[in-house]
Amino acid sequence: MSEDNHEPSRTKVPMPIATLSDPHMGDAARNPQRAEGIIAVILVVAIVFIAGFGAAYWQNWNPWIIGGTLGLGLFLLGFGLTAWGKYLMPQGPFVEERHVLASSPEERDSMAAALVERSTVVVKRRKLLGGLFAIGAGIFGIVALFPLLRSLGPVPGTSLDTSDWRKGRVLVDSSGRSVTRDTLVVGGIMTVYPAGLQNTDQGQAVDQTVLIRVQDSNLVTAKGRETWAPDGYVAYSKVCTHLGCPVGLYEQQLELLVCPCHQSMFNVRNGAIPQFGPAPRPLPQLPLYFDTDGILKAQAGFDQAVGPGFFERTTTQENGT
């Protein structure tokens, strides 16, 4: 076969010609020398920039010189090539017929026939085997899914409900200094962690608590919280109940804690009830007391899970007491 293909007597295929006067050539092609000249200049400038990029990279000049030369060089190179294609090559309209994608009715029927007949005659005859295989594969699918997911990480259990705050835990700042009665001035704010956990992921992400000193020396934020804010020191979980961002802004005049992510605002005076924004629940409040040495400690843990809602969350959780 290849011998035939390589017959030396083959000659060039005669073809019709599109010329410069062909209407498929754009106007620029009427004066091709000029167009070619302009494109050549563009390409030469591109070459200069690309060489400049090489030099800039070699010499480790500023990133903007490296990027500027690279960008201009490649852009102009592409621009020149595109211009060549647009102005000096034959443009449409040329036409190409579409294939008919569809097969003939006979071919369709033949495929359907094969599917139907072979499955009824060959496959369905052994219903037991087919059924057993389907059951096996199905069980494997279910069995494989759960252990595979499970091996990624632990089940949540009660880990989402609890923080590390316990009765008697000392409140410390990020460098481990504990809080005394005069650590904060009125209107002051700081972030505190359970002592020893200030540099851990868990302490940073879950236990982070914002401590504020308000004017009122015996602030009662809600009924049953009469002793929670000694000397005006009031503490709330810093994890926003909307999406878990740290509630990092404090509006001192209005005594509002503001979450910078989605602008939920929590009133410090009434137990951090959300006053504005998408947060659905108050920030949990941490009950505080000063021990006999004047060190600020937690009376108990938070009375509910901190942070955003999740399905297993209940509103009546007690922990850490």
Binding site: S2, H6, P8, M15, P16, A18, T19, S21, D22, P23, H24, M25, D27, P63, G67, G68, G71, L72, L74, F75, G78, F79, G80, L81, T82, G85, P90, G92, P93, F94, V95, E96, E97, R98, H99, R150, L152, G153, P156, L160, D201, Q202, Q204, A205, V206, K238, H242, L243, G244, P246, Q263, F276, P280, R281, G307, P308, G309, F311, R313, T315
Partner: protein, 521 residues
Amino acid sequence: MSPALPTAKTKKQALGPYGRVSGVVNELDDRLGLAKGGRVFLDKIFPDHWSFMLGEIALYSFVVLIATGIFLALYFVPSANEIIYHGSYAPLRGQRVSEAFNSTVNISFGVRGGLLVRQMHHWAADIFVASIVVHMARIFFTGAFRKPRELNWVIGTLMLILAILEGFIGYSLPDDLISGTGLRIGYSIVESIPFVGSYLGTFLWGGQFPGTGVIIPRFYIIHVLIIPLVLFGLLGAHLGLLVRQKHTQFKGPGRTETNVVGSPMFPTFMAKTTGFLFMVVGATALLGAFAQINPIWQFGSYEASKISYAVQPDWYMGWLDGALRIMPAWEFAGWGHTVPLEVFLPAVIFPGLIFNIAFVWPALERRMTGDNELHNLLDRPRDRPKRTAAGAAMLALLFVLFAASSTDVLANYFRLSLNFVLWSFRILTFVVPVVVAFVTYGICKEMQGVQGIGKRKRAVIVHRSVTGEYTTTPTPPRPGDGPEEMEPEPVPERIDISPLAAPVLTASRESSPTGARQVSR
């Protein structure tokens, strides 16, 4: 055949009349049989319309992403382990940072060209998603998704979802303060899903947020291997279907449902599109050089108790952030369970709804119009006012939500109350799409009634006679008018544009002596 030894002359003849190229073609065709199909491919017609370039931008920014991504992968360390920064950026020295953050700062300041490549990568990601969206809008408004191309529409929508996911995950990898906060929000969104949310969260993160340091390496392998691999496969299917089903085209002289009119693959389209590839790379490099993006060394390494103010995620996450902001605080609590609807509805249900509308739209429209025909000619948007109105309303909704992701910045900048801005957006979210739908519908109807709309108007010269009568005479045709009027013809077998070539002998069905590559099938 005589067993004569081959001479230089017989060897040359054996190659065929086109020298070495013939030789290569012969060798390849012996093994792959590609000459016939190859010739058809060289003549493949690409319609000449600017809007067909939008998908090319997506393709070429994907090329930039792969190339710059390979570079970055050589230096990035996907680890959440904490180390002390000792690099060249003085303000960070001595701080505890994660290895991921440390290596990203080192790419920016320690690796030659690293900052440029990092910024190109980030810009290309933003351009990638943007061009997919604009390309998708073109496909939608012109009805290019109709039968037989529904599957390609679905593949494209899948690629958009993957591109957004890929962007978000890549943005999270440097472990800086901003992206870490984004990841925290991502965890809370996963956690909000009823029944399975908290399990999914602890599985993915290896425990309660921030987990056990597994999320960065997991996201890394998803970002550099798994999603790109799936994208590659879908891209192949997308382009394969495009070649198999051929391009759509706008209505025009000689353009029918059974042909494609435009310029041939080789050399015209090849030159234009290769040039365009270089232009996209060049433009990305210029952005990377001159427009700073994501300066993570200013943000610092992520610490869960720290936060920045007035930061937005990358643009393609904006609509979700806006939806989260304007959603009222409707948490459901009862029967010992909590469903955070204020998160679950805007961040899970809403995007699910939007993408599902996109997935089923071709089928939906087929059912609503009862049109089950094959369509290769595109609609003008004005000719399908209902579809155009629906698409415009959808874009308007997404744009309002996008704008709503900056309520705090807008309130500050315009010195308005945040409450006023928030409520404005809540109302606008419902009002603007409806208004846009009606206005779009009206404009489409109006345009349908205008004679000769969409046609390039030939300028006329107005004469006033001495008696006050006005007459007009048309001006000669301007550049650009010509090809529109030409009758499409098959690709000439031979394209020779040297000025010395024989004068006008253009290809036409009658004048082609060989009969090869004529209208067939």
